[in-house]
């Protein structure tokens, strides 16, 4: 069964987004995304300080099958990157929701309201798989 936590937001490009208590958002790839890509071998994160536009390509996850872009779910500045996933890309397979890739400080927090909730994302995934 597809693992889609109810407390996260999602994009139609298969990133998950979590609003942190300090107002930043953590971004990772969904269970479905890692399932499609297969065994991860490499993660390339953006540099801290980079300003991203919404939907801008900003990271790459590479599996044994393919290298895939990760897009900024909302506009904002990169305030942190998770070195642990770069050192151990397989952690994105093992626990995709525990291992965020990078954190953004949103330029416009209302953009978060436009993201998919768990139910909408589940519908998207099930539509894509048919």
């Amino acid at each position: 069964m597809m693992n889609i936590p109810a407390d996260l937001k999602y994009t139609n490009t298969h990133e998950w987004v979590r609003l942190e208590s300090d107002g930043t958002v953590s971004v990772g790839i969904t269970h479905h995304a890692q399932d499609l890509l297969g065994d991860m071998v490499f993660v390339e994160n953006p540099t801290v300080g980079r300003q991203l536009a919404q939907h801008e390509e900003c990271a790459v996850v590479e599996s044994v099958k393919a290298a895939s872009d990760v897009y900024a779910p909302v506009a904002g500045e990169v305030v942190a990157v998770n070195d642990a996933v770069e050192a151990a890309p397989e952690s994105l397979n093992k626990a995709p929701y525990e291992n965020w890739m990078f954190r953004l400080r949103p330029t416009d927090p209302t953009q978060l309201d436009g993201l998919l909730d768990a139910e909408a994302y589940r519908a998207l995934v099930s539509a894509e798989s048919h």
Binding site: V41, F42, E44, P46, T47, R50, E62, S63, V64, K65, A66, A67, D69
Partner: protein, 462 residues
């Protein structure tokens, strides 16, 4: 060997099978204005006999010269065994196979090639080749910009780098908004100096260092590499692989070594053949391997633990990443790489060193003989490998023409690319030149120059 893909009957049967009345009907989806009506300027086909005759005629136009021109392509002795082996059916293809893993022999050869190039350049990884040295440089520049996450789109290039390499690199990177900044060189010694670079130290993704440079002169690669690293740039080495039998390999330049090394593989068993095809090579550090374009062959074990070879790190190639691939190069110069691998295996490290040393000694002897003539002198005082820039006391084009009339290609005039060297030629002598060849050149040049001193050409006749 005649090659006829399909007969008229084959074509008719295929059309019948897919239900199209004619080839034209098959393509009628393509709007008429996009279709090429004909190929003006392309003549009708010729018979095999006529083509053979034409090509023999063309080959004869090449003539039989005693060539002292290097300038990026070098005449070396090619042992007969090399092309005998290369033209075996098992190797006779320019492509890495489409079912690559079914062709273990080809993959093993490429793996050996990569190992040799990594060893020769003292770098950690090599790809399975690129098109040629100049386009390999273009790829290296794109790679350096990617390594800076595309945030720095400026690269410094020594103006002592081969002019055609600079032109090709500019063609490749200009449309991606990457600026190439050319650096001055020392007019006395003929190489780049770090002290001239400081005003240009503004942000750049890489510094391109040729070794030896276009003038044959050795660049101060250690301080240049360190200078690049101190300013946050990658150091890209453009080298003649033959010279590495004698010179310090790029992986050992400066304190940390060069980051990317490229060059043209032609000196390693590839004939001059009017300018190509040759092949490019690229080696780099392990940490940059995911930014490296082209194919890479790896050694692994199968399910039963038996050793085998496989293409690896393909996730960023064109067939997976499409327009976002690290490069649009999806094949390589497999046949020429096969020749180079056999050349390197036949020569061995000692053989390669002897060829390089002999070429260096022959060029020194040539320079000594020519500089003994009145008015001929070296343009630069720096140390050189197997090429040297010589200033002549009279018009270089005319002197080259007079030598050519006597069967000698005397050198490459530099006026077109370096106006400040309008009176200079670039000469090269490899192990293919004997003392008699050198003496013959010196003697003919002496006669030509002395005649010009006695009777300088007045008006241009004709």
């Amino acid at each position: 060997m005649p090659f006829i893909p399909h007969t008229k009957q084959d074509v008719a049967e295929m059309l019948a099978s897919i239900g199209a009345a004619s080839i034209d009907e098959l393509f009628d989806e393509i709007p008429a204005e996009l279709r090429c009506a004909g190929l003006p300027g392309v003549p009708e086909g010729l018979s095999e006999m006529a083509v053979t005759r034409l090509m023999h005629g063309r080959a004869a136009q090449d003539g039989f010269w005693s060539s002292f021109i290097g300038a990026g392509a070098y005449e070396h002795h090619i042992p007969a065994a090399i092309w005998q082996i290369v033209t075996r059916g098992e190797f006779y293809s320019a492509y890495t196979p489409y079912q690559a893993e079914a062709s273990q022999g080809t993959l093993q050869l490429l793996y050996e090639y990569q190992s040799m190039m990594a060893g020769l350049t003292a770098m950690e990884v090599s790809n399975a080749s690129l098109y040629d040295g100049a386009s390999a440089l273009g790829e290296a520049i794109l790679m350096a910009v990617r390594a800076h996450k595309g945030e720095v789109k400026r690269v410094l290039v020594a103006s002592t780098l081969h002019p055609r390499y600079r032109a090709v690199a500019r063609s490749i990177v200009a449309n991606q908004g990457i600026e190439l900044v050319e650096l001055p060189y020392c007019p006395e010694r003929g190489h780049t100096r770090t002290e001239d670079l400081d005003p240009l130290a503004a942000q750049a993704a890489a510094l391109v260092i040729p070794q030896p440079n276009f003038f044959g002169i050795l660049e101060p690669v250690d301080p240049l590499t360190d200078w690049a690293h101190a300013h946050g740039m990658l150091a890209i080495a453009v080298v003649n692989p033959m010279s590495l039998a004698l010179l310090k390999p790029p992986g050992q330049w400066g304190r940390a070594g060069a980051d990317i090394c490229v060059g043209d593989g032609q000196p390693l068993g590839i004939p001059l053949s009017s300018g190509g095809p040759y092949f490019g090579f690229m080696t780099t550090r392990q940490s940059l391997v995911r930014q490296m374009p082209g194919r890479i062959v790896g050694r692994t074990v199968d399910m039963d633990g038996r050793p085998g070879f496989t293409l690896t790190l393909q996730a960023r190639e064109q067939h997976i990443r499409r327009s976002k691939a690290t490069s649009n190069i999806c094949t390589n110069q497999g046949l020429l790489v096969t020749a180079a691998t056999i050349y390197l295996a036949l020569m061995g490290p000692q053989g390669l060193k002897e060829v390089a040393l002999t070429a260096h000694a022959r060029t020194r002897a040539l320079v000594e003989r020519l500089c003994a003539l009145p008015g001929v002198k070296r343009a630069f005082a720096g140390a050189y490998f197997h090429e040297s820039v010589l200033r002549l006391p009279t018009n270089t084009e005319e002197v080259m023409r007079a030598l050519r009339a006597q069967g000698i290609l005397g050198g490459h005039p530099l006026a077109r690319d370096y106006p400040e060297l309008a009176d200079a030629i670039l000469v090269c002598a490899t192990e293919t030149k004997t003392d008699d060849d050198l003496a013959d050149y010196a003697q003919k040049l002496e006669r030509i120059l002395s005649r010009r001193r006695e009777a300088p050409p007045c008006a241009y006749k004709s």
